[in-house]
Amino acid sequence: MSTTAKRGARGGHAGILAACLLYVGLLLVLPLAGIVWTALKPGLHIVSDTLREPDVRHALLLTFQIAVITVLVTTFFGVIVAWVLVRQRFHGRSFLNALVDLPFALSPVTVGLACFVLFAPGGWLYPFFNARGIQINFALPSMVLVTIFICIPFTIREVVPVLEEIGLDEEDASRTLGASVWHTFRKVSLPNIRWAIAYGIALSTARAIGEIGAVLIVSGLIQGRTETATLFIFRAAEERQLPQAYVVALLLAAISIVLLLAIETFHHRQEREMHSA
């Protein structure tokens, strides 16, 4: 390439880079800075003041509870589903596969609606739970259920490609050498997919923490009871307590950034595993 062409190319490169930086800056960096500034405008004390409120504490605790249960369930069953999808052949496998993709295709409000419809009086599952005095809607169970639904694809979609690409030979070798299935899984398969699992966990956690649409419908907005951190932000904005809303939002943003770093790390490790195999 001639020098002029090269310089032109470099100019073009700079142009593309500038456009990208501008786009990301306007859409992400600036708004993030904006929320930090708006949240801390009243002074740093606003953070400790807000965190002292019982409603805030409870909201954060509830979010944490829901996230933990969601991650446990989706990871555990997700690995099973991924295994079955990759290592087994049977009729209806592609249907099962499609089911895994379904939560990505649904708006969270639809999920909330589904939960509401199922467990409200007249719903298919209402008689069973009502007879046993178990409250599903307007209580923790419904919030957990909708969050699980929404997080189902994450682990599965990350583990499946890994299982597809690597490990079959090793697993076969291990079995031929006499190891039990469980032993093979623990010592051979699991190490192969551990970064994929970690990646899925990080993604699910972030998604679970950020859920708003579905819980808005099923929670009943009971303060200090069924109010997650996101629902608290929603309500605080309604009660003209914007400083509190922004502080909790900032807190969630900070937690997400930490999760994001985890996501990045696990993603990298996973890629490296896949490529080194």
Binding site: Q65, I69, L72, V73, F76, F77, I80, F116, F119, A120, P121, N130, G133, I134, Q135, I136, N137, F138, A139, L140, P141, V144, W182, G220, L221, I222, Q223, G224, R225, R235, A237, E238, E239, R240
Partner: protein
């Protein structure tokens, strides 16, 4: 340890048990029976479900006052769980299973909905003031200085006037607004509309709904939408404007000539209260709301004109409650059933106007 514990079955069971345990523990701590009925339970939970606007008066003032009062009188610790949203949405939520021992809603029909579902089995209107605890009137919330010069309902039909009012299917305040419009028109309070002219009143309603730019899900959402800079006027409760002003907003209230007397009921949902073993406390709470002390709380947050229509009309101009020239009640308009049928049924005038307004 048997092999199956280490296999997938074990952990699966463990997780399943964990989930069920969480569900059960949360439902009992949700005070839906169970924990609350234990005589040694402390604190005892009372589920309080209300419409969107009175959160400041209940959350900050009345509920804490009652908790303290009860502790002093009975040496028992009680705690309220609170939920605030559009009145009609809340009523439906309760019917659909939301835990509620006491409901404080915007209008009687919403309490009636819960009663019709069988959850209220006593005549709650036998309480003092017919079960009503607070009252207000309908006003226009405008920008400072009233730049568009809006004085009465006919001004809201003018071209270019952007109106905010909540969604009648979710918010009680929305229904009060439209009822006030209807009543004012029929009683000859609105310039240009002859007394008793239903056709003209219908046209007026259609003219206003044509200018509505958003039907928010509750009265509180509606006024906040207005405060964000949308619209020229928000039709709302007088007490909502006062709450906004107390929070530092520059909301300005314009009083049309006529207004409906807004009366807000509170009732014990006795079926739930019995199940949660808090019926006595709930009843005592509702009684408390009719006392002078509670009334003072309502008044100081802008709620209580008076449940006596004459006094309400006179207001208290010195203290920020202008006199209303023509204050009318639901009874004056023929009662809730007739009014609901005429305005808010599927073929109702208001329902049609909103559908056409689009």
């Amino acid at each position: 340890m048997p092999r199956w514990v280490y296999s997938r079955l074990g952990p699966a069971l463990f997780v399943a048990i964990a989930i069920v345990a969480t569900a059960c523990s949360s439902s009992s701590s949700n005070a839906s029976g169970g924990g609350n009925c234990d005589p040694s339970a402390s604190p005892k939970f009372i589920n309080f479900v209300a419409y969107s606007t009175p959160r400041e008066v209940y959350d900050a003032k009345i509920l804490p006052a009652f908790v303290k009062l009860w502790k002093t009188e009975h040496d028992q610790t009680i705690q309220f769980t609170e939920s605030y949203a559009g009145s009609t949405t809340q009523a439906q939520n309760v019917v659909n299973g939301q835990p509620a021992d006491v409901v404080a809603l915007s209008l009687a029909p919403d309490v009636q909905t819960i009663q019709d579902a069988g959850l209220i089995t006593h005549d709650w209107t036998q309480a003092p003031d017919g079960g009503m605890v607070s009252s207000s009137v309908v006003v226009f919330d405008v920008k400072p200085g009233n730049p568009k010069g809006l004085k009465d309902w006919n001004d809201l039909t003018k071209d270019g006037v952007q109106v905010l009012t909540p969604d009648p299917a979710q918010s009680g305040g929305a229904r009060w607004n439209l009822i006030s419009l209807w009543g004012s028109a029929l009683r000859g309070d609105v310039p240009g509309i002859a007394k008793g002219d239903e056709a003209a009143a219908t046209t007026l309603m259609q003219g206003v709904t044509k200018n509505v730019i958003a039907y928010d899900k509750s009265a509180r959402d509606s006024i906040q939408n207005f405060e964000s800079g949308n619209g020229d006027v928000a039709i709302t409760y007088e007490n909502e404007v006062k709450t906004a002003q107390a929070a530092g907003g520059d909301d300005t209230a314009v009083y049309p000539k006529g207004s409906i007397l807004i009366e807000n009921p509170v009732a014990v949902v006795d079926k739930n209260a019995q199940k949660d073993c808090v019926e006595d406390i709930a009843n005592a709470f509702v009684d408390y709301l009719h006392t002078k002390e509670a009334k003072a709380y309502y008044t100081e947050t802008g709620f209580l004109r008076s449940t006596d229509p004459k006094l309400a009309a006179a207001g208290d101009p010195a203290n920020g409650y202008p006199a209303i020239k023509d204050l009318f009640t639901i009874q004056d308009l023929g009662g809730w059933d007739a009014l609901d049928q005429k305005l808010f049924s599927d073929n109702g005038i208001a329902t049609q106007a909103i559908a056409q307004g689009g």
